[in-house]
């Protein structure tokens, strides 16, 4: 038990050190980016590239769930529903109206955002548990609609014949690494957007709500409005992820995004660390690559996701890379005096 503590301390110290040393931090980020860009060029098989593409995709989904769960403190277990909404919107626009990926993905984000507003507005006024249940039901309703509305979604047969993303007449596939670069760009954009959101006034409001909703209200934060904003942004980014996935596999049916996907996304967030961004990348990398690495365990992988949720909450609720920074608090410039 003690040894375990020591280990996590070393890990925390390491993370702290990187955080404190700005130059080291930027160097590490640049290095990781270079590696990520160079990956398809060093002769890896297309299977491995596909695994990396999935990791990046799930990092997008994890980041968007992290915005509402990690930063705003509201648990959603129906995010697969938003993936499905985004996926179906993009797929149908592509198949029926010939829209290319970029436009259909934007429409997918808008539709997912509107649905997020419809679900979030009534439930986020209340305590967080209601959102969890409502999202659980939402995921199931989306699946039922996809199954029953044959005229729109093709029912159980799904939608097929979706074209691959094309940029400047250049078709992106797994073989030429185009899909990988596309998802990498999307991941960068999403990361940047979320980074900017959490650094803004809005982000501080989110975190205040997470830490103590009552206190946040007393500070004059319109908690309901911020919770809904957070949820809608999260739904939109998840819809984007769904749209990308559909254009990658070129097929969607009601079971593409089921409850297992919701649980997978939330496991990524919990394992990596709620309320951190680096944790989500790590969580996605670990959880997406492990069924590929440990083929013999893939039958039990859903049980393992459940165990991750339970054990992490019990022993390290802040996640592998989460937790409070031990950096001493720095007073803003202009404030003088002894505030120790």
């Amino acid at each position: 038990m003690k040894k375990e503590n020591k280990k996590t301390n070393i890990m925390d110290n390491f993370v702290d050190q990187i955080n404190q040393n700005k130059k080291l931090k930027y160097a590490l980020i640049c290095l990781l980016l270079c590696v990520a860009i160079a990956l398809p060029k060093i002769g890896l098989s297309s299977f491995i590239i596909r695994v990396f593409t999935m990791i990046a995709l799930y990092a997008i989904l994890g980041l968007s769930l992290n915005l509402i769960t990690g930063y705003t403190g509201q648990v959603s277990i129906g995010h697969a529903g938003f993936c499905a909404i985004g996926g179906y919107t993009s797929a149908l626009l592509n198949v029926h109206f010939g829209m290319t990926f970029i436009f259909s993905a934007i429409c997918a984000m808008i539709v997912a955002g509107i649905l997020g507003l419809l679900i979030g507005a009534p439930t986020l006024r209340l305590s967080g548990t209601y959102l969890t249940i409502a999202t659980l039901g939402f995921g199931e309703i989306v699946r039922m609609m996809a199954l029953n509305w044959d005229w729109l979604t093709g029912g159980a047969l799904g939608v097929s014949g979706i074209t691959r993303p094309v940029i400047f007449g250049f078709e992106l596939t797994t073989f030429n690494g185009g899909l990988y670069y596309l998802v990498l760009v999307l991941l960068l954009l999403v990361s940047l957007a979320i980074y900017m959101i959490i650094r803004s006034k809005m982000g501080r409001a989110f975190m205040a709500i997470r830490d103590d909703e009552l206190a946040a209200t007393l500070m004059g934060i319109n908690t309901t409005r911020y919770k809904i904003t957070s949820f809608v942004i999260s739904a939109m980014l998840t819809g984007l992820g769904g749209a990308f996935y559909v254009h990658m596999v070129r097929f969607i049916d009601p079971n593409t995004f089921n409850f297992d996907i919701s649980i997978l996304i939330i496991s990524i967030v919990i394992l990596g660390g709620m309320g951190t961004m680096k944790g989500i990348y790590l969580g996605a990398a670990l959880l997406i690559s492990f069924p590929e690495c440990l083929r013999f365990a893939s039958e039990y992988r859903f049980i393992i996701y459940g165990l991750i949720l339970v054990l992490m909450m019990r022993f390290k609720p802040e996640g592998i890379l989460g937790g409070q920074s031990k950096k001493p608090y720095k007073m803003p410039s202009g404030i003088e005096g002894d505030y120790q």
Binding site: I77, P122, I133, L136, I141, I303, G306, I308
Partner: protein
């Protein structure tokens, strides 16, 4: 026709009420929505199936075994995963995520052990059709209705007229004050989980005997419906859960008849959203004032 629909709805509704009571009891004491409740319900039905179909004992034995084993599962869930969190004074969100994880573990374990396909379950209370005037009632439905009614009465007796029920109500009002009065809070919480697990097991067995099929995913949608029922009646209130359950059952039966079978499961969710918009405290709920 209408009376037939009403009785179908009442039968289903009483069973939902049994599940909803499990949500309400735990929520009343811990302020926690126990997500694992739906899979506990499926677990109970599977235990009954093992005893009745595989081992060949009678239904009564299956029911008894299922009540005990599932009740103990409920206690184990609390002791192993939730009690340590309470001791650590973890955030509420941790307990919520833990129950989601547990629900997932139970459901997938059932799938690995029993396979994910639907299996046959014998019909219960199969004594033919009872005619009252122009209404013909299936004996299965009458049996399920009476059993659920009896169990709900027993539960309400336990909560209102026994010592442990008094302790449960005390903890619901103020757990700290209750523990200062010498009530072992953890023991009472475990007992609550036992009651919840046992009533879910009975509900699972009754529903399996009604539809004559059983599969590991059966708890998911019933759990959602029962939660809607609990919210409709006012979560944390026992008679609210019963009224909510009956209303959900009735609306399901009418929706399946007039809107089509595809909307059968959607109606509970619709009710949930409407209640949350119009009266989030539910029909019998009192406004909860948060003190700092």
């Amino acid at each position: 026709m209408i009376s037939q629909l009403i009785f179908d709805g009442l039968t289903l509704g009483m069973v939902y009420a049994l599940v909803a009571v499990g949500y309400s009891l735990v929520f009343g004491i811990l302020r926690l929505v126990n997500f694992s409740h739906g899979s506990v319900y499926a677990f109970g039905a599977h235990i009954a199936m093992v005893v009745v179909v595989t081992m060949g004992y009678g239904l009564i034995w299956g029911l008894c075994a299922s009540i005990i084993v599932t009740g103990l599962l409920g206690v184990a869930i609390d002791k192993i995963s939730l009690e340590p969190l309470r001791k650590k004074k973890s955030k509420q969100i941790s307990a919520l995520i833990t129950t989601i994880g547990i629900s997932y573990i139970i459901q997938n374990s059932l799938m690995i052990i029993f396979g994910s396909e639907s299996k046959w379950f014998p019909k219960i209370f199969d004594l033919g059709i009872i005619k009252i005037g122009s209404v013909s009632l299936k004996s299965t439905q009458v049996g399920i209705f009476l059993t659920s009614l009896a169990l709900l009465l027993i539960l309400s007796y336990v909560i209102h007229y026994t010592k442990i029920g008094l302790a449960m109500r005390a903890i619901e009002q103020n757990s700290k004050a209750a523990s200062l009065m010498g009530i072992d809070v953890n023991q009472v919480v475990s007992f609550t989980f036992f009651l919840g697990g046992a009533s879910a097991a009975i509900a699972g067995t009754l529903i399996s005997g009604y539809y004559q099929v059983i599969n590991p995913q059966m708890g998911f949608i019933v759990g959602l419906k029962a939660f809607s029922a609990a919210v409709l009646g006012g979560i944390g209130i026992l008679h609210g859960a019963v009224v909510g359950g009956v209303l959900v059952g009735l609306s399901e039966s009418f929706a399946a008849n007039y809107l089509g079978g595809g909307y059968r499961d959607a109606i509970a969710f619709l009710i949930l959203i409407i209640v949350l918009i119009l009266k989030p405290t539910g029909l019998f709920g009192k406004k909860h004032i948060e003190k700092v």
